[in-house]
């Protein structure tokens, strides 16, 4: 008979890093020892999204949501909750406002406004068990496409649903499929782009870890619709867990006849191979990705020709992002009307974001298009950490821009974000507070672009390097007014002339911070000050004579001998020698050292 109770344990990378695998083992052991193993079942699922509070254990059917559970907590969960039905209060999530425990996730602000479509199975099913996927209508959409809809109607369904690419640019998915379908060829390919490279974004990885079959099913549908019998998943080698789960899922699907020859009696053959990325962000760009799959350096080429015309091995190729694909089976099962009710006029459905940075609730969220940034950051994200002041949010990763207080009430969709000077991107969302220096943040993103530029075109290869050098100069207090002008012009030209999306968007962090935080740039350039106190070169450590008792503690701790002074006399820091390590300030017990 079926289990009466399910203990769902998050097995995403984040939670596994916090020993959720050991937790699963301990829970199983405890259940066995307390002879409850036929009553309750432990299931390792995909990501619940609430990574800030991982590892997560959710108990079904009473929906109890335990957070930050360590392997040692297995005993009490089994003996108290499973055996006796008593919730373990101290493992419950505490409402940050009044510190009261909240037992069920649906009552938490983090989950209240979320709608989970792409993540529908994450945290619910065991990704390593195809039967759990089938139980939740898995592969039904594929069957429907074969027997009821046919290729053209399926594409029409996606068109009616208004699904747009979730990888960044928001190109209508149905149109892409249609283009590939129209191009005649003896062989075509469908490719799943799982080369998620935005620093701080892990949407695709979570989907692949938590619901790999959804992607496989969608690729098979994609293959059928465009006339491709081969699928390829290009996945980052840095995602070992996702790769392992994909491999298991692919084998299961083959065993069940859901991949391979004559799938579901349709006469359609389809199979999928894995291709590994090797640490090159630019391979997220589809032409670069295709070259990489062909065994070349992942350098983009000019479009047209589009992959739909000439892609992998010069055959028509349809490239879709993981999250886009994950939406496909549900749309087919539930119909386009269901899907296009969610969202805004031009952007339908939901979007998954990796919410990170200085918010209380870091994690993976899926929200309807049209939600405001304020709702995401202050309700779902639980506001800024340590009650600091919100300063900016970067959407779209290194290609996006910084949005500020004034943008908090725009509703999130492709067009609105671009209008505001940023972009949807693949879904990274980094929140910054008053302690973050925007020049430094722009420099961080530029450092990333410089490192990840493929080097093929001059504006990106050299221009970004120069942008970085200029920003570095500014953060060292050596920038000039002319430098700001050069930054502006250079940023514009790089956007205008770069070969691929990477270069075309790389100046965005600089240009958007210059627009929104002009004062901060001026402070660095004209006053040689970093208002947030981040830029080391612009800091000066000084002793407050009134507080200094002359204990010589700082003199002794200074690694470069920059502090002078005798016992019981006020000490002095030499600005020339000081390396701004902060050791003195840490050591001083009298708050006699300040940093400006």
């Amino acid at each position: 008979m079926a289990y009466k109770m399910h203990l769902l344990v998050c097995g995403g990378t984040g939670c596994q890093a916090s020993e959720s695998a050991a937790l699963v083992e301990n829970l199983k052991k405890e259940l066995e020892e307390q002879q409850l193993d036929s009553f309750a079942q432990v299931v390792m699922t995909g990501c619940f999204g609430f990574c800030e509070k991982g590892p997560i254990v959710k108990i079904i059917p009473d929906n109890t949501f335990y957070t930050q559970v360590s392997p040692e907590n297995a005993g009490v969960i089994v003996s108290e909750h499973v055996a006796k039905g008593r919730r373990v209060d101290y493992l419950l999530y505490k409402n940050p406002e009044d510190n009261t425990p909240i037992a069920e996730s649906k009552n938490m602000n983090f989950y209240k406004k979320q709608i989970r479509i792409a993540l529908r199975n994450c945290g619910i099913i065991n990704p390593e068990n195809i039967e759990e996927y089938i139980a939740r209508d898995g592969y039904l959409a594929l069957g429907k496409v074969f027997q009821e809809l046919g290729a053209e109607n399926t594409i029409q369904v996606l068109k009616d649903a208004g699904l747009r690419g979730r990888g960044g640019a928001g190109f209508p998915t149905a149109i892409k499929w249609e283009l590939t379908r129209k191009n005649e060829a003896d062989q075509k390919y469908v490719v799943c782009n799982a080369d998620e490279g935005d620093p701080g974004a892990f949407m695709d990885r979570s989907i692949l870890e938590g619901d790999p079959h959804a992607v496989i099913e969608a690729m098979a549908i994609n293959g059928y619709c465009v006339g491709a019998t081969k699928g390829l998943i290009y996945i980052r080698a840095e995602y070992p867990l996702a790769i392992q789960r994909l491999k298991i899922a692919l084998n299961q699907a083959r065993n069940y006849g859901l991949l391979g020859n004559d799938i579901l009696g349709s006469g359609f053959d389809f199979d999928i191979e894995l291709r590994y990325g090797a640490g090159a962000f630019v391979c997220g760009e589809e032409t670069a990705l295709i070259h990489s799959m062909e065994g070349f350096r992942g350098e983009p080429t000019l479009k047209p020709p589009y992959p739909a015309q000439s892609g992998y091995l010069n055959k028509p190729t349809n490239v879709n992002n993981v999250e886009t694909l994950a939406n496909v089976p549900v749309i087919i099962n539930k119909g386009p009307e269901w899907f296009n009710q969610i969202g805004t006029e031009k952007s339908k459905g939901t979007k998954v974001f990796a919410l990170a940075g200085k918010v209380n609730n870091v994690g993976l969220i899926e929200v309807p298009m049209g939600i405001t940034l304020r709702e995401v950051i202050f309700e779902i994200g639980g506001g800024i950490k340590n009650n600091k002041k919100f300063k900016a949010v970067q959407t779209g990763g290194p290609s996006g821009g910084c949005l500020t207080e004034k943008d908090l009430d725009i509703s999130i969709d492709y067009e609105n974000l671009i209008a505001a000077g940023s972009m949807m991107g693949s879904g990274g969302m980094i929140v910054m507070d008053e302690d973050d220096c925007m020049v430094d943040v722009a420099k961080y993103f530029l450092d990333f672009t410089v490192e990840e530029s493929c080097g093929k075109c001059a504006p990106c290869r050299i221009g970004n390097k120069r942008l970085y050098e200029l920003l570095d100069k500014i953060t060292k207090g050596k920038g000039t007014k002319q430098d700001l002008e050069i930054l502006q012009n250079l940023g514009g030209v790089i956007k205008d002339t770069s070969l691929c999306g990477l270069g075309q968007s790389s100046p965005n962090p600089v240009l958007s911070t210059m627009r929104n935080f002009e004062d901060e740039y001026h402070a660095h350039v004209h006053d040689h000050k970093c208002p947030s106190g981040v830029c080391k070169s612009l800091m000066t450590y000084e002793i407050i004579p009134d507080n200094c008792v002359g204990c010589t503690a700082c003199v002794r701790v200074c690694p470069v001998g920059a502090i002078t002074g005798n016992k019981k006399e006020v000490h002095l820091i030499s600005a020339e020698l000081c390396i701004k390590c902060g050791a003195c300030m840490e050591r001083c017990k009298f708050d006699a050292i300040t940093v400006n």
């Binding site: 984040g14 890093a17 990170a356």
Partner: protein, 162 residues
């Protein structure tokens, strides 16, 4: 890599291993990246001699193999330490102080990113987002992940491997 880099002596059995890997991928040059992944998994890194055998096996030029190896940051021509340390420098980790953790690591181990300590024990490598943003900043030593790492914790973490 310069030309005076120490030559690695490959045993005949190693050459065979590489040839077997190439054969698994039908000696198809299009599979170069998959072959390099598997070869690096086997040898830990991709010295010049290994790349030469791969080039032969797949019938592509050595220059091409080298061009690919130097393009992708995942591939390395320098052997990693016994306990490779990977530091996440994704945005989430960065805004939560990964740079300070990195400085501390470099100071304690006296090596730069991409280098290996003289005793071969540790190497430092920077990664872009391991996806454990909830735990930022994150440091991995081998397969073990350390979350919410502060610079003060570095010495303690390294001691676990002494």
């Amino acid at each position: 890599m310069t030309q005076d880099q120490v030559k690695v002596e490959l045993k005949e059995s190693d050459v065979q291993k590489i040839k077997t890997i190439c054969a698994e991928f039908d000696n198809n040059g299009g599979e170069l990246i998959n072959v390099l992944h598997k070869t690096q998994n086997t040898f830990g890194y991709l010295p010049a001699e290994v790349q030469e055998v791969v080039a032969q096996g797949l019938n592509v030029s050595v220059a091409k193999v080298y061009g690919v190896v130097t393009f992708y940051s995942y591939f390395t021509m320098i052997p990693k330490g016994e306990h490779p340390i990977s530091l996440c420098t994704g945005t989430a980790c960065y805004v939560r102080g990964a740079d300070k953790v990195l400085d501390e690591l470099k100071k304690v181990l006296e090596i730069e990113v991409g280098e290996t300590t003289a005793d071969g024990k540790f190497s430092i490598n920077c990664l872009r987002c391991v996806g454990a943003c909830g735990l930022a900043p994150v440091v991995m030593v081998g397969d073990k992940t350390y979350g919410r790492v502060a610079p003060e914790m570095i010495k303690g973490i390294l001691e676990e491997y002494q």
